[in-house]
C-alpha cells in the first residue's frame, strides 16, 4: 500500500513530476550517450595506438627501449620462441621483428624513418599492416629486396610501385650500410604520421641489409579477449631471464595512453557529479514543494499515530519513484541513440586533422559498456536518494499542532 500511495502522490501534480522527470531523463541520457561516445573515442585511440606495431605485450632486449639500435637485439631468439610456444595459449598470436632507425632516399628526396623487418605471414594477423595494402602487393616471405611504403611517403617522394628506394642504416660493426629496395606495395594507415614514419621489409631483407645471421629486435604478442594482459605478462616475466630481456605490456609502452584512460575515467565521474548537482537542486526543490503543500496531510498522519521514520520512508519512496522513472526512460533513450549511431558511427570529417592530432580515426563508434551504465545509474540513484533525505526529514518534523495552524 505504501508503494501505491507514493505512486499516486507523485501524480497528484503531474505537470511538476513530468518536468522534474524530464530533467532526470536529459541528465541520464547525456551521461549514457556522451559516456558511450567518449568511451568510443578512447577505445579508438587505444586501438590505433596498439595496432601500429605495439600489440598487447612486447619482449625486447633489456636495453632496446633506451637505445633502439641493432646492437640491442635478442641473439638467442630460439630460447624465447620455445618459451612462447610452451607457455602461451593456442589462440595467442605473436611475431618477430627487426626494428632500426634508417634513412631513406631516392634521386630527389630523403627522410628519416623506422625500418621494420617483418615475418610477412605472422605480421599480417597481428598489426594493421595486413589489412592496409591499398596498392600493389604485400610482401612474400622470401622477398629480399621488396619494401612496403606508406601512401603519404610515396606521395612525398613522387614515386610509385616498382621504383627503387635506397635504405641506409648502421650495421652492428658501426659501418653505414645501404641497399636499394623496390617498392612492392603501398599501405594506408589511420594516421598520416604512421604512413610517413615506417617502412616494411622482410626479415630476410633486413638481415641481408644489416649483415647479420640471427637476432631480432622485438617480439610482439597479441592476446584475445578472454585473457588478461597483466596476467599473461606476469607469467612471461616469471619464465624469462629478466637480466637479459624485458617484458612490457602496452601500458608500459604507451604510458600516455594509459594515463589518458585513467584521466578519462576520472573526468567522466566529475562530469557525472556536475550534471547530478545541477539536477539535484531541482530534485530537492520539487520534493520540498511537494512536502510543503501537504503540511496538513502530514500533520494528520502524525496525529493518527504515524511514526516519523515512516513519514521519511514515504517521502523517500516518492523520490525513488520519480528517480526510477527518469532513470529508466533516460537509459532507454541513451541506449536507443547509441544503437542508432552504432551502424554508421559519427564522422568527425570537420575535424579530421584534429582527430588525428589526438590519435583518433575520423569516424567514431560509440561503445556502451556495462560498467559505464552501472556507474551512471548508481551515481544518480544514490546521490538522488541522499539529497531527497532533506525534504523527507523536513516532512517528518511537521507536528500536528503546526499543521493545524495552516
Amino acid at each position: 500500500m505504501y508503494f501505491e500511495l507514493a505512486w499516486r502522490n507523485i501524480w497528484r501534480n503531474s505537470r511538476r513530476t513530468l518536468v522534474i522527470i524530464t530533467a532526470v531523463v536529459i541528465g541520464v541520457w547525456s551521461m549514457v550517450f556522451l559516456g558511450a561516445f567518449s568511451r568510443g573515442m578512447l577505445n579508438n585511440m587505444l586501438e590505433n595506438g596498439k595496432s601500429v606495431l605495439i600489440g598487447d605485450i612486447q619482449i625486447h632486449h633489456k636495453n632496446y627501449r633506451e637505445d633502439p639500435s641493432i646492437d640491442k637485439s635478442m641473439e638467442q631468439a630460439e630460447i624465447i620462441r620455445h618459451l612462447l610456444k610452451n607457455n602461451l595459449s593456442k589462440n595467442t598470436l605473436w611475431t618477430e621483428r627487426i626494428k632500426v632507425s634508417a634513412y631513406v632516399s631516392n634521386a630527389r628526396h630523403s627522410t628519416g624513418v623506422t625500418l621494420v623487418g617483418i615475418d610477412p605471414v605472422k605480421e599480417k594477423e597481428i598489426s594493421f599492416l595486413g589489412k592496409s595494402i591499398v596498392n600493389g602487393n604485400y610482401l612474400e616471405p622470401n622477398d629480399k629486396r621488396g619494401v612496403l611504403v606508406g601512401k603519404a611517403l610515396l606521395e612525398k617522394f613522387d614515386t610509385k610501385i616498382g621504383k627503387k628506394l635506397i635504405l641506409m642504416t648502421r650495421s652492428k660493426s658501426g659501418k653505414v650500410v645501404s641497399k636499394a629496395f623496390r617498392i612492392r606495395g603501398v599501405f594506408k594507415a589511420q594516421m598520416e604520421s604512421t604512413e610517413k614514419s615506417y617502412l616494411f621489409i622482410t626479415m630476410h631483407g633486413a638481415r641481408n641489409l644489416l649483415n647479420i645471421e640471427e637476432g631480432i629486435s622485438e617480439i610482439s604478442i597479441k592476446i584475445f579477449d578472454d585473457q588478461n594482459v597483466d596476467i599473461v605478462a606476469k607469467m612471461l616475466k616469471n619464465n624469462i631471464d629478466e637480466k637479459l630481456y624485458s617484458v612490457e605490456t602496452w601500458k608500459d609502452l604507451l604510458p600516455m595512453l594509459e594515463a589518458y584512460v585513467r584521466i578519462f575515467d576520472g573526468f567522466m565521474y566529475i562530469w557525472y557529479v556536475v550534471v547530478f548537482i545541477a539536477m539535484g537542486f531541482g530534485i530537492v526543490n520539487t520534493s520540498l514543494m511537494a512536502v510543503f503543500e501537504r503540511v496538513r496531510e502530514f500533520g494528520l498522519l502524525r496525529a493518527l499515530g504515524m511514526k516519523p521514520w515512516r513519514v521519511i520512508a514515504s517521502v523517500l519512496t516518492e523520490s525513488t519513484f520519480t528517480l526510477t522513472v527518469g532513470i529508466v526512460a533516460g537509459n532507454c533513450l541513451g541506449i536507443i541513440s547509441v544503437f542508432l549511431l552504432k551502424e554508421n558511427g559519427l564522422d568527425l570529417a570537420l575535424f579530421g586533422k584534429g582527430a588525428e592530432f589526438f590519435g583518433m580515426s575520423r569516424i567514431i563508434y560509440p561503445v556502451l559498456t556495462l560498467t559505464d551504465v552501472i556507474s551512471v545509474n548508481s551515481v544518480i540513484f544514490f546521490l538522488g536518494i541522499i539529497v531527497s533525505l532533506y525534504p523527507a526529514i523536513r516532512a517528518a518534523q511537521i507536528t500536528p499542532v503546526e499543521a493545524m495552524r495552516e
Binding site: A23, S69, S101, G112, R170, G174, F281, G354, F357
Partner: protein, 412 residues
Amino acid sequence: MSTDIKMALRNLFRSPVRTMLTLSAIAFASLILVFMLSFQLGSYEAMVNSSVKIHTGHFQVQAKGYNEKQNMRFAISLPNDIAEKLDKIKKIQAYTFRANGFSLVSSKNRTRGILVTGIDPEREAWVSTIKTLVRKGEYLDAKDRDKALIGSLLAKHLKVSVNDELTILGQGKDGSIAAGVVTIKGIFSSGIDEFDRASIQIPLNYFNDVFYMQGSVHEIVCTAESLYDVKKITQELADDLQKDQKGRDIVVLDWKELVPGLVQGIKLDLVSAIIFYIILIVVVAFSILNTFLMAILERTKEFGVMLALGVKPSRLLKLVLMESAFMTLAGVVIGGGAGALLTLWFMTHGINLAGASEILKEYGMSGVVYPKLSLISALAGPGAVLLITLCAALYPALKVKKLVPAVAIKSA
C-alpha cells in the same frame, strides 16, 4: 515602477529556501562554466604559444609547395628581397631564415635519420626560445661554423655530449651528396619530446656550404607583436608578394596552416566541451523550470484577486518576469563572480596535473596548467545560462496572461 520591484523582491523572499536552492543551481552552473572555459582557453593558449615560440613562429614565408612536400629544391632563392619587404611592415617583431635537410646523423657508434636545420644564431634568438632552452654547453654565436645544437633526447639516443663530434650525411639541394662534421656546442631541452628527439641545428652559413644551398633558404620564420595581428600582416604581405613577378612562387603561411592538427585539435576539443556545457545548462533549466512554474501556479488565487482589482495582465506578466529575472541575474552574477575569483586564484597558482604530465608534454605543455580568465570565458557561460533560464521562465509567465479573474479567484 519601484512598487513593482519591491513586490517582486518580496515575492521572492516568501519562500526563501526555494529561492536559495534555485539561485544555487544557477550559480553552480555559471561557476562551472566560467572555470572550465577559462581552463580550456588557458591550455589552448599554452599549446599554441609553446609551439609558436619554440619552433614555427607566428607565420612563415616559404616557396610554394615546400610545406607539403618538404622538398629541398623548393627554396626561396633571394631571401633578402623578402627581408626588405618584411622590414617595411611595422607590426612584425622579428624574423629569421632557416634551411632544412634530412640527413643521416652519426656519432661514434649511433646513427639516426633526422632533419638538420640551419639557423642564423643571432636572429633565431629573437624569434624562438631556443637560446633559453640550452641546458648544457652554450648557444651558437655568429662566428660559429661547424658547431651544432641538439635536443636532449637525441643526445641520449646518439650517446653524445657537449664537444663530441657528429657526422652529417645527406643530400644537397642539387641532389649531390652533402657531408660534414660538426662539434656539439649545446644541448637543449624544450619539454616537447618530438622536438627534443628529432632536431639538430647548425649555423646557416655552414648549412649553406654543406647542402649547396647557394644562398637560398627554406623558411623565413616571423613573429608578430601579438597573435591577433597575424591575420592582417599575412594578408598584407601576401598582397605585396603577388604584385611582384618573382613573388608568385612564394607563399605566406600562418601558424594555423603550419600546424593544422593543433587548430583542429583545439576545435574538436572545444566543440565536444560545448556539447557538454549545453547539456549541463539544459539540465539546470529543467530543474529550475519547476520552481518558476510553482511560484506562479500556487498564486493563482492571488493573481485572480489582483486582476479583479484592476491590475493589467501585462503588468502582472512584467512582475512575474521580473521575479525570474532577479533570481536568474543574482544567480549568474554570484556564480560568475565566484567562478572568476576561483579562476583568478588558479591563474596565479596554476593547477598541478601531475598525473597528466605525460599527456601534456606531448602537446607541448608543462605539468602545471594556468587557466586564463578573459572577457569571453567570463561572460559566455553565464550569458548562456541567463538566456536559457530566462527562456525557461517564459513558459510559466505566459500562463499569467491567460488567467480569468473569476475562475482564478475560485481556485484553491
